[in-house]
Each structure stands twice: as C-alpha cells, then as structure tokens.
C-alpha cells in the first residue's frame, strides 16, 4: 500500500498539516483517500518514529497538528522509491505514485523507472522460459501474466518518454 509512503514523500519536501497531506496525497495517489485513513496512517508513522509532531496550534481537532519527517522517515521513503516493485499485473497506481513523488522530491525518477523496467522484463523472461515445452494450461497461464506485465511495461516506457512533461505538471 502506498499511502504511508505518499505521506512520507510529501513531508520529505517540508512539514504539513493533516488537511494539506490529504489534498496532496489524493493527487499523488490518483484517487481520494478517506480523512480517517490519513490520520490513522499518520498515527502509525509517528509511533514508528518516521514522522513527528512539529507543532500543535491552539484549538480543537486533528487539523491543528503540523507534522514533519524524521531522518528515519527520509531513509525509509528513499529506500521504497529506489526499490523496484515486485512485478505483478496491475501495478500502475503504485508506479504512478512513485514517479510523481520522485519528481516532486527532485529524485531520479528516470533511474527508478529503468530499474522497474528491468525487473518487469526479468519476470517476463522467467515466465517465457516456463512456456518452453510446457503443457497448454501452463503456457496459457504464463501468457495471462505476460500480457498484463507487458501492459505495465508499455506504461513504464511511455511514462519514461514523457517524464519531462509530467515533471513540469506535478512540480508547478
């Protein structure tokens, strides 16, 4: 799940209030996340020492809290960004989130996408090898995964080719 990393990524750029985190994470994740989930995730991240309270302004309600990332949090976020996601079908949302967060943090999104491409093709190579001399059921099951991974890979290539345009849009 990308929500904790999206929050870490946004905080990596500077401290933010809960409602700011909610708005920015919606954009980065590509779909809205419930306020409740944002606050429970912030609570877990704080407990784990990835973020801490920067300030608590007077008044009532969770929106008074301003959070900042810790050194542990930065390390955790960057490790997650650089590590290719296990190639399984339908990863686009996670890959999109990672790409946008990397661009916004000025981290090498192009290198992450190249690494992801290599991981995807490596998995496709394994599945292709499994098809050689296989029975038809095995071959068709491998094909199912191969077609989906191929769709991911095409998306990775397309995004890699349009990275500069995306950078301009998401870092405005």
């Amino acid at each position: 799940m990308s929500v904790p990393f999206a929050l870490l990524g946004i905080l990596e750029r500077g401290p933010a209030h809960g409602y700011e985190l909610k708005q920015e994470s919606d954009a980065v994740l590509g779909s809205p996340v419930q306020f409740g989930q944002i606050y429970s995730t912030l609570g877990r991240l704080e407990k784990a020492g990835r973020i801490r309270l920067a300030a608590e302004e007077p008044g009532l309600g969770p929106d008074r809290k301003r959070y900042e990332i810790t050194a542990d949090g930065v390390e955790e976020f960057r490790r997650w960004l650089a590590e290719p996601v296990a190639p399984e079908p339908r990863l686009q949302a996670t890959l999109f989130t990672k790409t946008v967060l990397a661009l916004q943090s000025g981290l090498p999104a192009d290198e992450y996408l190249d690494a992801q491409r290599a991981a995807h093709l490596g998995r496709m190579r394994e599945l292709t090898a499994r098809k050689v001399d296989a029975d038809i059921s095995t071959a068709l099951l491998a094909d199912y995964a191969l077609f989906h991974l191929e769709a991911d890979l095409r998306w990775i290539d397309q995004t890699r080719a349009r990275l500069e345009t995306l950078r301009q849009e998401v870092t405005r």
Partner: protein
C-alpha cells in the same frame, strides 16, 4: 567466458545531420539471444545493420571472430553475410517468384552448393520449421507465419554463427508471432547460433537471455539492464 562472436566498439553513425548511433559498444557471445529494444528512432535497426556488416559505421569498429569487418571490402562483407550470418526481417524478404523450398535453398545455391544437395538440406529444414507441406507454394500463397518460418529456415540453412532478426514478428498476430519466436529461440539454442533481435515488443524481448536498451542512439547502462 567464451570469446565473443561479435565485438563492436564505439559505433557512431549519422544519417545527414541526425546521429542514429552515438558511441555504442556491445559484445555478442556465441549462442546467446540478445534483444535490442528502444523507442522508434533510438537506433535499433541501425545498430543491427552495422553489426551485420550491411552499414559501415562513421566511427568505431566491428569485429567478427576477432577479425575487423567494418572496413572490409563489399565482396568480403557480402560473403560473410551469405555464409556466417542469417537474416530475418519483418516482411518482403522472400523472392516472390520462387517456391518456398527454393527460397530456403537460395543461400546454398548462391554459395555454389550443388542443386541436389541444396534441395535435400532445404527439405530437411522445411520439416524442422513445419513448412514442408507448403514447399511448392510461392510466398504470396503462404500465411504471414508460414512466410516467417520459411525465412527462418533460409536464415539457418547455412549454419550461421549469428542470425540478425529485425522485428521478426512485427507483421504477425500474437499467436503466430509466439510460434515464430518459440521456433527461432529453440533452434538458435539447439544450433548454438547467436541471435540478435530488434524488437519493440516486450513479449518478444522476453525470449532473449538479455536486453540491450537503446535511447537516443546510446546504450542505457544500469545494473538491472544486463
């Protein structure tokens, strides 16, 4: 590690003001299947043609089994292409007037092998590629998949060291493409022939043992991309 069958170093190639290759270096090991991938215009086909001695690079060197070939005479390179290299293209590579079996035998006939010997070996190869039942038909009467099988038989009949394939499945539907790749990769393995495949299709690239990713005429080097 074996001696590479092909070594290319610092290849640069321009077409007018456009740089198609900007210093590409690559080794091809005996019997390995290498996929050359990249966006349109990244230099994939130019690299293939330089490695195969069809195009001369503006800079850099290409060696085949330790002998420099990029500066060899046209006659020498032509002999090399006929005897030591095989070619499979996307389409339009078969002689339209000749029956399939004679298309397969053609490289041997051009190289002075007796007609009888050439036809015997062509019959054997058409069997291995599953096109023996259409040997008497001309290319226009064959399906796309059958034409590519004939092309593969023709590419392999001389026992080449390297087969160069440029989008070999590009004109085929996905199932026919799959069958062609299974045959090509399987035969390359059993014949210990190296194969260099240019493709924009990830599923075709996945048949290779490694991938060379080109971007703007240069190889993208990364730990993850072998």
């Amino acid at each position: 590690m074996n001696e590479p069958v092909i070594t290319a170093h610092g290849l640069v190639k321009h077409f007018g003001p456009t740089a198609a290759l900007r210093g590409v270096s690559i080794d091809i090991q005996p019997g390995e299947v290498v996929a050359v991938v990249g966006a349109s215009g990244s230099g994939k086909s130019t690299l293939l043609l330089c490695l195969a001695g069809v195009l001369r690079p503006d800079e850099g060197e290409v060696h085949f089994r330790g002998t420099r070939i990029d500066d060899a005479s046209e006659a020498e390179r032509s002999r090399l292409r006929r005897r030591d290299f095989g070619f499979v293209f996307q389409f339009g590579q078969l002689v339209p007037e000749l029956p399939a079996i004679e298309n397969i035998a053609l490289p041997l006939l051009l190289d002075g092998v007796s007609r009888r010997e050439a036809m015997t070996r062509a019959a054997e190869w058409s069997g291995r590629l599953g096109v023996d039942d259409v040997g008497a038909k001309v290319p226009g009467e064959l399906s796309g998949g059958q034409q590519q099988r004939v092309a593969i038989a023709r590419a392999l009949i001389t026992g080449p060291e390297v087969v160069f394939a440029d989008e070999p499945t590009g004109a085929l539907d996905s199932l026919a493409g799959e069958e062609v790749m299974l045959l090509l990769a399987g035969l390359a393995r059993s014949e210990a022939t190296a194969v260099v495949i240019v493709t924009h299709e990830p599923r075709v690239a996945a048949y290779a043992s490694r991938e060379v990713l080109l971007r703007d005429g240069a190889v993208v080097t990364r730990a993850g991309v072998a």
